[in-house]
């Protein structure tokens, strides 16, 4: 039982870290598809 609960917690923690990391990297389209000439 303990290993199961720990497993759930670990899964959520890893998923949370992944989510946080990816969302901070995810660019909105206006930044991703602009060049230096663009004034946003």
């Amino acid at each position: 039982m303990k290993s199961f609960v720990l497993a759930c917690v670990a899964a959520i923690v890893v998923a949370g870290i992944a989510g946080f990391a990816l969302n901070s990297v995810q660019k909105p389209a206006d930044q991703a598809y602009s060049t230096t000439g663009v004034r946003l």
């Binding site: 989510g19 990816l22 660019k27 389209a29 206006d30 991703a32 602009s34 663009v38 946003l40």
Partner: protein
């Protein structure tokens, strides 16, 4: 009832991008989202051809068929629209669309790509016609005011036609007869399963 379609006369398009500019301005489309675009085949070579492309509002729209949350609907004028409230940004409509019409506000598919945006044939969305709420999400609703899409209205050579299928097909046929050549209605076979004989 009208059956709305787009027809880009590839023999007249001069790649001026007036259609793109008109659309962007009318709907205040953010940078990075391209509802309409001009593609040039064989750029710079003899036989160069440009075509303006956006959502074709297909018969039996593949985007609507694959959407996991069924956020698309077809109006009585056969315009294919969708609800940004229901959209989960999964990106499937882009994989199915033969014309690359769906656009997403975020790059990468972590959680969501944001709410899909595309050409609405200047017909807005599920919100009440010509309200601020509708404009915020989907842009102007010209059809509700009895007008046709602005891209076609602004086309400098009248290569891009938008309106009832029978009428624009007739215009195109007359054009082809008069000038003696025509490369056909690009995209019609894929979108509407019909062609205009030229």
């Amino acid at each position: 009832m009208a059956r709305m379609k787009f027809l880009c006369d590839a023999d007249r398009c001069i790649e001026c991008n007036a259609c793109v500019t008109a659309c962007k301005n009318e709907h205040e489309v953010p940078w990075g989202i391209n509802r309409r675009r001009v593609v040039t085949i064989n750029d710079g070579k003899p036989g160069e051809r440009s075509i303006s492309m956006a959502c074709m509002h297909c018969t039996d729209a593949p985007c609507a068929a694959v959407c996991p949350v069924n956020c698309f609907y077809t109006t009585a004028d056969a315009v294919v629209l969708h609800s940004k409230d229901l959209c989960i940004g999964c990106g499937y409509c882009f994989y199915a669309c033969p014309f690359g019409a769906p656009q997403y506000p975020r790059v990468g598919n972590f959680g969501s790509r944001g709410k899909m945006d595309k050409c609405t044939f200047c017909a807005g969305g599920p919100e009440a016609d010509s309200t601020h709420a509708e404009y915020e999400k989907y842009g102007a609703n010209r059809l509700a005011e009895g007008k046709l899409p602005l891209c076609a209205e602004m086309c400098s050579t009248k290569s891009l036609l938008a309106g009832d299928s029978d009428i624009i097909a007739q215009i195109y046929k007359e054009r082809v007869t008069k000038r003696g050549y025509g490369s056909g209605a690009w995209g019609w076979q894929t979108a509407y399963r019909e062609t205009i004989a030229t």
